[in-house]
């Protein structure tokens, strides 16, 4: 028996909606198998992963903190992926935004007024966008593979951050710890409901960004241009759309949003720069973008799902002694299932039995 794909005349509306859900279900089943192999009760593990973090208010706040950078980065990536630009260096742009945005509170700690935070956010966006402009320019000008260049820049950004917090920006009064001084009060992103939990303005930025990009992608000519150039560069050229300009635009948008995510993270949840400021948000956001089917509103939902997997990983580690690395394995599996299930949107899957060979047998007889 083997699989055969039969192209659907039109893409299936039903499966566009349910394929991410099927993928989630399959991931949970595969996860349950993985947990039983590891010698844990799979139902317990799934409970700690997907239910336990939702039970308390403070924990919902933590969920929002984790979801914010994922959503911000992923909606930017959706513009890239829809226009067929493979920016996989969002992790680097996140760091670039965090570093650029931290210049004011770290280098000029005495400059303290209400202007500081808005300036930091703008500088964060600019930093991320500038860093993304490098692979974009190289692709637009020299046709250099953006996948490899954007990824290489992630390593460079990580090393740069490591150098700057251990070297020039190290807190002079910080007992030699590799971290910058704590941001002063004007440089900290306010919490939404300080009495209930730590969630800050980051999640508001994320939802606003998703709404804006949803509008741009669905309701404007620019959004149409993005999708045309992504699906058929040739058709796009005939329509007079410029491919190099689209490359720059897509990278600047996604880099800017990743930068905003970076500065929001350090000005919000962390409050200073450290050698490591992201548990791989830039890469997990790729999964978020695909789970959300590259639709900004779907991405908001997907962002919360993957944020849950981070929190669930911590919960399962505390309660069951499961490695928190299991969360990463989980996330990788999810992307596989998402991509596999998306096939159902465009193809019908047919299992072909041994029919042809049976006929041969009759012929021989």
């Amino acid at each position: 028996m083997r699989l055969e794909l039969v192209k659907r005349p039109q893409h299936s509306v039903l499966f566009s909606a349910v394929s991410p859900l099927i993928a989630l279900l399959l991931t949970m089943i595969a996860g349950a198998i993985m947990f039983s192999v590891l010698g844990k009760n799979p139902l317990d593990a799934l409970y700690y992963y997907f239910i336990d973090p939702l039970r308390e208010t403070w924990s919902l706040h933590e969920l929002a903190i984790k979801a914010a950078p994922l959503i911000l980065i992923a909606v930017g990536l959706s513009v890239c992926f829809l226009s067929n630009n493979w920016n996989i260096g969002a992790e680097g742009q996140f760091i670039a935004g965090a570093v650029a945005g931290s210049i004011l509170p770290v280098v000029l700690p005495d400059f303290q007024n209400w202007l500081v935070l808005p300036l930091m956010l703008v500088m964060g966006i600019a930093g991320g966008a500038t860093y993304a402009a490098v692979p974009a320019f190289l692709k637009a000008r020299f046709n250099t593979n953006e996948i490899l260049t954007s990824l290489m820049l992630v390593y460079v950004a990580q090393l740069f951050l490591d150098w700057i917090v251990r070297g020039p920006w190290r807190d002079p009064g910080g007992m030699n710890f590799p971290e910058t001084r704590d941001f002063h009060t004007f440089a900290v992103l306010p919490e939404l409901m300080p009495s209930a939990g730590r969630a800050n303005w980051g999640i508001i930025f994320a939802i606003l960004a998703a709404l804006c990009l949803w509008f741009i992608l669905r309701r404007t000519r620019k959004g149409f241009e993005i999708r045309v150039l992504g699906q058929s560069p040739r058709a796009g050229r005939f329509a007079g759309f410029s491919s190099p300009r689209m490359i720059m635009l897509a990278f600047l948008i996604s880099g800017g949003l990743a930068g905003l995510a970076g500065i929001s993270e350090v000005a919000g949840a962390i409050g200073q720069l450290q050698p490591s400021i992201s548990p791989g948000y830039g890469f997990t956001a790729i999964i978020v973008a695909f789970l959300g089917r590259l639709n900004p509103l779907g991405i908001v939902a997907a962002g919360f799902v993957l944020a849950l997997s981070y929190l669930g990983g911590e919960a399962a580690q505390i309660s069951l002694g499961l490695s928190d690395k299991a969360a990463r394995a989980f996330q990788g599996m999810l992307l596989f299932f998402v991509l596999g299930c998306d096939t159902l949107i465009h193809y019908r899957i047919r299992f072909v039995g041994r029919a042809p060979r049976a006929r041969e047998a009759i012929d021989h007889a």
């Binding site: 190289l138 490899l148 290489m152 390593y155 460079v156 090393l159 996330q331 990788g332 992307l335």
Partner: protein, 304 residues
């Protein structure tokens, strides 16, 4: 001095070479597998784990090859059978490999590894300058050289190699000629996975015989870049891998000499060099246009 530099260059270049030569075959068949990093890190953790439990580095190597191929099979099933997007699926493979290896490897952190003993060829290894570089290396070094020779011969001197290249250059014509496009691609993808697994085993059994999370540190991606750099030609992959090996050990030697540059800058050099090299190569459009397999990354669904 020169002799020891050559030896360290070879140890840094060999994993890149093995992974890149495998990916070269995959890309020649028209498939872009961005999961090299994931397969490589899985090979590294498996090789290490099996070697310390059995005490035999060779069993570790074989297990790493099998796991690399198994991961490649997963990639093949999605991209070839279910025609998913190759770029996204390759990324998924990398993320999955990094996650799973981190989970498995947690038990191995800090354990002493098993180092694969070098094969010293009597007589020849005493030659001046190149003796230890060419004739007293870990067995996998010789395997890497044989792989280059073998792949070069296979692709350009055998009928099967011609078939593979035809599938990568025009899958519709190949299909019309009765070649089983998907079958050929599966074989190529499995070979690439096996090579990536082997390259990973080299890292954890020869290069640094221990397990460190994410120990591939982007080498899988550099191997991908090497294939572009080599414009899909096996012998140029060899040259490229040694060039990159030289850049990446430059930091060790610079530190020994006492150059006062931040160590992070030196560590960033291989990545910056990769970008520079990619730009230089891609500027030459004719070179890339002529050599890129024409169907690279394009899905194939046979018309029935």
């Amino acid at each position: 001095m020169l002799e020891s530099v050559l030896v360290t260059i070879a140890t840094a270049a060999t994993p890149l070479l093995i992974a890149a030569i495998g990916e070269l075959v995959v890309e020649r068949s028209g498939v872009l597998n961005l999961g090299v990093e994931g397969m490589m890190v899985m090979g590294a953790v498996t090789g290490f784990g099996i070697a310390i439990t059995t005490g035999s580095p060779w069993l570790g190597v074989f297990a790493a090859i099998l796991v690399g191929a198994a991961f490649a099979l997963l990639f093949g099933f999605l991209t070839l059978t279910l025609v998913t997007n190759q770029v996204a699926t390759g990324l998924a493979l990398t993320l999955l490999g990094l996650g799973v290896s981190g989970m498995i490897g947690e038990a191995f952190i800090g354990l002493p590894g098993v180092k694969m003993a070098p094969w010293v060829i009597p007589g020849l290894s005493d030659l001046p300058v190149v003796g230890r570089f060419l004739f007293a290396q870990a067995p996998l070094f010789y395997v890497s050289i044989l792989l280059v020779i073998g792949v070069g011969y296979f692709l350009f001197r055998t009928r099967a190699g011609l078939t593979l290249r035809s599938v990568g250059d025009n899958h519709d014509s190949a299909h019309a000629l009765g070649i089983r496009v998907i079958g050929v691609r599966y074989a190529a993808v499995l070979f690439g996975g096996a090579c990536a697994g082997l390259a990973g085993a080299y890292l954890s059994l020869v290069y640094t015989p221990q397990w460190i999370e994410n120990m591939t540190a982007g080498r899988g991606w550099i191997a991908l870049a090497l294939v572009v750099f080599a414009s899909w030609r096996p012998w140029r992959v060899l040259a490229g891998a040694y060039l990159f090996g030289a850049v990446s050990i430059g930091q060790l030697h610079a530190q020994v000499i006492g150059v006062s540059v931040p160590s992070q800058l030196l560590s960033a050099l291989p990545y910056l060099a990769t970008i520079a090299v990619l730009v230089l190569i891609s500027r030459n459009r004719r070179l890339t246009m002529v050599n890129t397999p024409a169907c690279l990354g394009r899905p194939f669904v046979p018309a029935r």
